[in-house]
């Protein structure tokens, strides 16, 4: 398979490329109404510092805080056909695409990157809800395939952050075909014996939930995320009754056995690291601020090099201000 034949030289994204936030702007929390200072909000990963409400976060911003030193290398994704159906609703699909690209500064609705989390090499893919609702079309399918292939080539786990209103209708049947396509990608990963961790974020719906977002070895969701196949409005119209409070939210799915864990965004990095290292048979991680890996300029370090480096120091115990167990739904 040569999905990635257009390999490009890795770009190193440094901390300094982080978008400058306007200093004088405030955001109102949708959940509690508190006015939050932009910088304060972004420093808290777009989680309300007052009520813990999780707002959307762009893949690039997530990766900057997820990877060691904010350093990651984008994994190239093969570009699919543009507008394969010649789709037009009230607008032409290529016009919608251009508007989304302009509005987000991104090429498409998924970003794939490799790097290290706590000196543990991983491949990450994150869906961008702000790009046409994160919708799954050919590009997102290609991105998942590219992510899985890179993970298999380098023997790394794949962590996928899902966020989507569902399939990209403008690609018609080809968007539907991303369900089997992405499933093939996940199978390649599983057959290679590599962990596939899904983090479901708000909202994850439709064909995305009904394919790669539900096939993780470990299924984690961010608090309050809407996770469903059919959306609540469609269901209410069908059954003609009001749905209970919290229906199809992360906590509800946890209760109904559909998730392993619900974990706040601010605790995710540590948790992913812990899980991935156990599944990869690596010793416990050192939880501390590590400098960027020195080996990066020669390409990311190999897991073997890792082992010796991290063998000695035991994992630091959880700080006293850690979340109470129920928030992370432990045990």
């Amino acid at each position: 398979m040569n999905w990635i034949n257009n390999y490009v030289r890795p770009k190193i994204n440094s901390l300094f490329s982080r978008r400058e936030m306007p200093e004088n702007l405030w955001t109102k929390c949708d959940a509690c109404g508190t006015m939050l200072f932009h910088r304060e909000l972004s420093d808290n990963l777009n989680v309300c510092t007052s009520c813990g409400h999780h707002m959307g976060i762009r893949p690039r911003d997530r990766f900057l805080t997820l990877f060691d030193g904010g350093i990651f290398t984008e994994v190239p994704v093969p570009t699919p056909l543009t507008d394969p159906l010649g789709f037009r609703d009230q607008k032409k699909y290529p016009d919608r695409m251009r508007a989304a690209q302009k509005g987000t500064g991104e090429k498409e609705a998924m970003l794939v990157a490799e790097g290290e989390i706590g000196r543990t090499p991983v491949v990450c893919a994150a869906q961008d809800f702000s790009f046409m609702g994160g919708s799954m079309g050919m590009y997102v399918g290609n991105a998942i395939i590219a992510a899985a292939q890179r993970a298999v080539e380098r023997r790394r786990p794949l962590i996928l952050f899902s966020a989507a209103g569902g399939a990209r209708m403008q690609e018609g049947i080809l968007s539907l075909m991303q369900m089997p396509r992405s499933t093939v990608a996940i199978q390649m990963l599983k057959e290679a014996g590599l962990p596939y961790i899904v983090v479901l974020t708000h909202p994850t719906t439709g064909g995305v939930t009904a394919s790669y977002a539900m096939l993780g070895d470990v299924q984690i969701a961010e608090p309050g995320a809407l996770i469903c196949f059919a959306g609540p409005r469609v269901i209410e119209q069908t059954i003609r009754e009001k749905l209970p409070e919290g229906f199809q939210r992360a906590e509800y799915l946890l209760e109904h056995g559909m998730l392993d864990r619900v974990t706040p965004r601010t605790k995710l990095r540590e948790e992913l690291l812990t899980i991935v290292r156990m599944l990869m048979g690596l010793p416990p991680a050192v939880i501390a601020d590590l400098p960027p890996p020195a080996s990066f300029s020669q390409g990311p370090a190999e897991p073997e090099a890792e082992d010796t480096e991290n063998a000695a120091p035991p994992r630091r115990p959880a700080p006293p201000d850690a979340e109470p167990p129920e928030a992370g739904a432990k045990g």
């Binding site: 056909l81 080809l174 790669y212 096939l215 469903c228």
Partner: protein, 319 residues
């Protein structure tokens, strides 16, 4: 005979001919034959005109026609020794999904399909062909069994989509569909699929991720219903004609896109006007597809199936 909205002029002519013949039966001295035959001819021409170039929206209507042969009809006519096997072993039996062992000619197979029901009572029993999680989980169980015993799997797809209900969501509809698609991609036996009516989104993919996918001439296969698409993209459910057009959900377009492998011709006026003929045609095509895939080893079947889906999207339709 149930007429579709666009068939109304046809209904009038056929109705008139029928009326004439009824009158003649009551008054044997009346000679109406010439007139009735002329009407018949007119009706036949009109039928041909109507079906020569069905718009995508009309195809949706034909695909949903209540008189079209359903899964149950195909199973009864094409297979012998059909032995239904029920239940997902976790929660319930799902009557929207038929499944079991059967023989196609002498070859034992596992057959699975959506059944919509044919009258009010059976439609309710079958939930209009909208599977719940248990239906997909039953299918996974049957595909596993087929894989263990080396039996080909034949799926007949005819569903508006998964059931948007409270319980279905609570019991993990999305996960059930994902697992069924995954299972389709894992089994080392031939998996053949025919879209016989409506191929509605994830509910269809869960059964149709197959080595060979055929579609009846006037069936449709889509990521979303034209009504659903219209209400989201046009903010007006009445724009379903436009949406059906844009979605490219006809068998003809899907063949060009490489999403399906063959089209099974329907009799003039659609499957509902020639049920036996349609069922026979599906049978013939299933035998051909079975022959094409029989004798390949497990790995080849799995690899070929995966490759087929990975390669999808290299061809477009845009002019």
């Amino acid at each position: 005979m149930n007429y579709l909205e666009f068939e109304k002029p046809l209904a009038e002519i056929e109705g008139k001919a029928e009326e004439l013949r009824a009158m003649a039966r009551a008054n044997p001295e009346m000679d109406i034959e010439q007139e009735a035959t002329a009407l018949d001819r007119k009706a036949a021409t009109m039928l041909q005109e109507l079906y020569k170039s069905l718009t995508p929206w009309r195809k949706c209507q034909v695909a949903r026609h209540p008189d079209r042969p359903h899964c149950k009809d195909y199973i009864e006519a094409l297979f012998t020794e059909y032995t239904p096997l029920a239940g997902d072993r976790n929660f319930a039996e799902d009557n929207a999904v038929m499944g079991g062992l059967a023989r196609l000619d002498d070859q034992p197979v596992v057959v699975i399909g959506h059944e919509k029901g044919f009258d009010t009572k059976t439609r309710l029993e079958r939930n209009f062909g909208m599977a719940r999680p248990e239906g997909y989980r039953k299918a996974v169980r049957l595909m596993d069994m087929a894989d263990r015993f080396g039996l080909p799997v034949i799926t007949l797809v005819d569903t508006p989509g998964a059931y948007p209900g409270k319980g279905a969501e609570e019991r993990g509809q999305a996960e059930a569909i994902a697992r069924a698609t995954e299972k389709c991609l894992q089994i080392g036996v031939p998996l053949l699929s025919v879209i016989i009516g409506e191929g509605g989104s994830g509910g269809a993919v869960a059964f149709a991720t197959a080595n060979r996918v055929a579609m009846l001439e006037h069936s449709v296969y889509s990521v979303i219903s034209p009504e659903g698409c219209a209400s989201i993209l046009w903010k007006d459910a009445e724009k379903m004609r436009e949406a059906a057009e844009a979605l490219r959900l006809t068998a003809q377009d899907l063949l060009k896109l490489g999403v399906i492998d063959r089209i099974i011709a329907e009799p003039m006026g659609g499957a509902q006007r020639g049920r036996d003929q349609t069922i026979e045609a599906v049978g013939r095509n299933l035998r051909v597809m079975l022959k094409e895939t029989t004798g390949k080893d497990r790995a080849a079947l799995i690899t070929e199936r995966r490759r087929k889906f990975l390669d999808m999207g290299s061809r477009g339709l845009a002019a």
